[in-house]
Symmetry: C2
Amino acid sequence: MNNTLRELAEKERLPLVKLRDGIGKGTIVVLKHKDNQNACAIGTGCYTKVNMNLGVSFSSPLELELQKLRACEELGTDTVMDLSTKDTVRTLKTMLEHAKVPTGTVPIYGCLDAGEEEFLKAIEKHVKAGASFITVHAAITRTGAGLAIRRRITKIVSRGGAILAKYMEDNKKENPLYTNISYIIGMMKDSGCAMSVGDALRPGCLADAMDKAMLLEMRVQAEIVDKCRMQKVPVFCEGPGHMPFDRIAECMRLQKKVQKGAPYYVLGPLVTDVALGYDHINAAIGATAAAIAGVDFLCGLTPSEHYALPTLEDVRQGIIAFKIAAHAADVVKKPQAMKRDNEMSRARFKLDWKAQEKLAITGFKLPCELGLKDSAPCSMCLSLCPMNIIGKMQKKKERKLWKVRANPNL
Amino acid sequence: MNNTLRELAEKERLPLVKLRDGIGKGTIVVLKHKDNQNACAIGTGCYTKVNMNLGVSFSSPLELELQKLRACEELGTDTVMDLSTKDTVRTLKTMLEHAKVPTGTVPIYGCLDAGEEEFLKAIEKHVKAGASFITVHAAITRTGAGLAIRRRITKIVSRGGAILAKYMEDNKKENPLYTNISYIIGMMKDSGCAMSVGDALRPGCLADAMDKAMLLEMRVQAEIVDKCRMQKVPVFCEGPGHMPFDRIAECMRLQKKVQKGAPYYVLGPLVTDVALGYDHINAAIGATAAAIAGVDFLCGLTPSEHYALPTLEDVRQGIIAFKIAAHAADVVKKPQAMKRDNEMSRARFKLDWKAQEKLAITGFKLPCELGLKDSAPCSMCLSLCPMNIIGKMQKKKERKLWKVRANPNL
């Protein structure tokens, strides 16, 4: 682990002692990866990380999900989550085998209408299969679910949350993940698997944001963070969701305070409900603000959020939007991050198109048919290209200066 | 004008007296449109407006630009600018004839290597042609241009700015638009054409943001605002550009203070330099933050910013990203704006797909091949759809309650 830590500190541009200290205090969590070649540090002081959700379902075969995995990795995702809804253990194992990044999972997606035993069994299986982190929806209680269902427009929008709300309603019992949390933590101890405390009550629309149900769940998450830390199980928390832009910073700061600096992992947040078909842009807006306000880990979403399982291209668009959000935040949070922007700007002024392509974080390739030539302007401005006009002015001035220097009689 | 004002107040959900007051003080500017059917109010208290740039160039024919115009209007652009670089007056007239929204222009794009007279002539022609607003790059001075060229990575990135910097350098003279500003204002007086004071020195990369050149130009813009107001010429100012996310609010508040509440019209701002191919997303992130901090008018940009004149599809993508940004800001600035989000959320909970399509601000149509059926979940979650699970739970409960009420013996 020591070597890994040194490498991680290097990657995060953090002094080793700070990384160690963060891990000790729980403000940084390291997500494991096979042999830890690509372990990933998440938390205060680290670069903002991006996750993308994958997973076979009744409508998407494994081969397609593996293609999505490769696309995510090419575009620089930091982690993936396998949210398969069938054959969950087998698929997770395949994903773990192929993934070059830490891989998380939500064990209870196979547990609709299951009993207490099955919930716990599912979690155990996913931990044993080697998941880097698992979402445990232990913070939704009967009170919280009741508040959400009675008072909200979109009630509960988490799949895990809905499964557990139904269990609680059908059995008139408390959430079995909440009542068995110590058992679950014990099961995870020493496995290296981190716990992502789910936010089953994340707001599903602007109107539901920052309501009683959400804030209650945030406090229950904090309890679980304490319990995990006591058992030295790495832990972080999940967050919203949908939220008006001006509440984002407030929410993120509240989380850090209530949950004592635990890393925060948010889905978006989306800053409007009416961006159907373009929710990756919508969410990237909120994600940037959230990351700057202290969020450590962004869960990307795709253009098809709210209406379909994403296609391969949807996943690509989603990860690109979130890479932009994370980088825009890092420019503010980690001064070193701006080096790349400055290099790009120099390439831009020189009209060095190849360098621009290389420096882009979007994997974008300039279309050949544009016929872009180095030092020549693009079709946007042509002869009015300011870079070209000013560049030539400068060169002329330099030539004059050179002549003056070369001939003292001038 | 009185009828127009009443309609505008209604459209902006502003009391008529507030609109009148804003216009009087210059914190609101009304952009004219043929017969004023679609005049557009911009400024404090109004909804955030979006502009899209169009314009024929050496590489894009008029017919294509008219198609782009129609696409923008269908997607709800509030204004367009005709940035043609050839046949500028003739094209402007055609655009004005076709446009259903106020249309602005930059008169000096035909003036590379022109003399003082030609600059002024060009402006006069565009005002007389009936432009709703014109950009006048009067705030770039020799000092400002010198600062930008000596100290910045990307120097000057405004086409108008480069044309004027070259004029100043070649002729060793001050900016003719600056020295002739009173003449220009006099020419515009009573024409109904508003002045958009250009920001020829807007930062073209993060590193150049909020530098001396930019702040100097902001102060010169303020001088021009004063002069316009004295002559009752409606005036607003243009702003950045590229800017780290955490400087945006600061910049916007500074502008409102320095320029005494003049409406602010920004291009982006882009929050990173490395999002090549996806700068519409990049800019929408900054635009949302800017609009919430007080910006009134957003100039959209497209995926092809920095490398090509946008295609029709690029323009569509750009306007959609900016409609999202403007709406996300309005949700915060104008409480009424959230009504649409709430309706969408209700439709979402009911799995009412047709209503969702109608309420989207993106013009997005749900693909038929998805076979979405009302009250049935989508391929994302299928049987795990939380809306479906919770919806059914609620119905079951209601049925029980109904039975209890119907039979008092139960």
